[in-house]
């Protein structure tokens, strides 16, 4: 039961403050950062270099796989496993198998996108050190936070705090977690 340093969290009043601080932190050589804002901040993402292209990639693959499976299943069941003469139509009536195929691939697409998001965000995660930050509940309302990880190679609590102070943080917390 030892308490260990988790990093420094600074609270900002404005999105721009956060953006500036993030830039500064990056320039100061910090790499293990995360920013928190009540709405998407594209430019901050850019600064932090998030790569999300994987989501559509996986989704697209899933769509293709799901559709393919659906079509094959229909073909196998109606034309291979129990072939029946249905209204004199060919056993492999491909046009009739299309609609279900499209629908199922759409299902896989959506599901894959959703699950990938959760996975890449590490959700669900009900308990997280960030929730210990005083006033962090306002991160979902109108406040902005920047967190510098203690794991960062360049991590030095005093420097970090100073840097963030300079960026006009309204509050600075040293976050500790129990391990």
């Amino acid at each position: 039961m030892s308490r260990s340093d988790y990093g420094i969290v600074a609270e900002f009043a404005s999105a721009n403050g956060l953006l500036a601080a993030t830039r500064a932190a990056r320039d100061a050589g910090y790499r293990r950062l995360d920013a928190f804002a009540p709405f998407p901040l594209a430019d901050v993402s850019v600064v932090l270099g998030h790569r999300t292209a994987v989501v559509p990639l996986i989704a697209a693959t899933a769509a293709v796989v799901g559709g393919g499976l659906s079509y094959l299943a229909q073909y196998w069941m109606n034309a291979v496993d129990y072939p029946l003469n249905v209204g004199g139509r060919p056993l492999h009536s491909w046009p009739a198998f299309i609609p279900a195929t499209i629908i199922v691939s759409a299902l896989w697409l959506a599901a894959a996108a959703f699950l990938t998001m959760l996975f890449k965000c590490g959700l669900p995660r009900f308990s997280h050190p960030m929730f210990d930050v005083p006033g962090f509940e306002r991160a979902s309302d109108e406040r902005f936070f920047l967190w510098v990880s203690s794991e960062d190679p360049a991590y030095e609590p005093r420097d970090v705090a100073a840097l963030l102070q300079r960026q006009g943080a309204v509050a600075i917390t040293r976050l500790e977690v129990t391990r």
Binding site: A63, Y82, I102, V104, A113, D141
Partner: protein
Amino acid sequence: MTDSRVERSATEAARIPLSPRYGRGWLAALIASVLMVLVLAYVIAELVVAGIGIWGTNIPFVWGFDLSNYVWWIGLANGCSLFAAILVLRRHSLRTAINRFAEGLALFAVICAAIFPLFHLGRPWLFYWTFPYPATFQVWPQFRSPLTWDFWAIITHLIVTTMLWYVGLLPDLATLRDRARTPVARRVFGSFALGWRSSVRHWAFHQRAYRLVAIAVIPLALVIQSTVAFEFAITLVPSWHETRLPLHYVVSGLESGLGLILLAAAALRGSLRGIDRFIDDEDMNLIGKLLLANALVACLVYAGEVASALLAGPLMVEAILNRLVGHYAGLYWGAIALSVLLPQALWSSRMRRSNPAGILIGLGVIAGIWLDRLSIIVGGMQRDYLPSTWRIYAPTQPEWALFLGSIGLFAAMFLLLMRFLPVVSMSETRHDEYREASS
């Protein structure tokens, strides 16, 4: 449950969901709709016990209210979700105002729609036979049948619409969690928020996923509307056997969806204090214009219906004429009046901005499309190939009860939504405010 935070918050968004005190009106409405849900439950029990003979259906009218209500509900659902998805993709400002409840409406409509194909079965307890599972009698579903497509359509629609709605809702759930007063509420919202920390990283992936689900919804809505149309178009019934039917269903489906959105928006503005800050006149104006445009397209489709039928040979001519002047002509002209003529009122911007007008026109359009469905299905079946089999169909009390019950279910779910969840997206609103501020 959230008022305490309002004054602490600087943003407009903080005032969502607003009007802490939902008055007697809301409660009365809820009670009324719950009663209707009870009626629904009763009729369904009766159906399962006695059999669908309690309906007015017969040969040749094997379908009546059951399928027309299904088609109507699924049309509403597709209309709403399609519209919502497009807004998400276009990142249109309207989305902040509309998406949240539009997605909700879509979801509720699908749930209502699902009731009908399930309980219209002669043996509803065997519905799972349409699902391909390895049975010991080794018989599979028959995938050439639009009804099997429909099975997939409904399931998928249910799941994907839920995801679209939920993904959009996720950040707001976090907000509700962080604002919630009672520990129970906090925990409940907390669990549904999945530990969302509004990290910029979360946001990045969230935006991607949201847009991808929206992308999935668009083809889905179109294909499902078409599938529903195929259920009729691939049969030999003279006035159904048309390639234009999917188009007809997509257009009129979207129109009914817009009608519902207009209705809901106007109703919200009329009932929730202060919401017109988020669903403002400009939004209403836009919806009105869209609905008007859609009504004009629908008008074109109706014209096409008559034209193509007249070109299609004697049987089709007889069938369409029967719908225009026959026993069920009232349904057809009612549909025209309500879904084409009534929306013309939206040419005037005063109408577009007025809540009562919005409610009336929204209701009118929805009713119009309902009549259109009934006219197509019932009126269409009336002139079949052998005159000896021609008959009349009239719905019975249980059919009406089932229909009204499904509306009650829909209303109940919507009332609960507006009570416990933000009816417009907080995060989107914040986002917009930020953009406006920064620009």
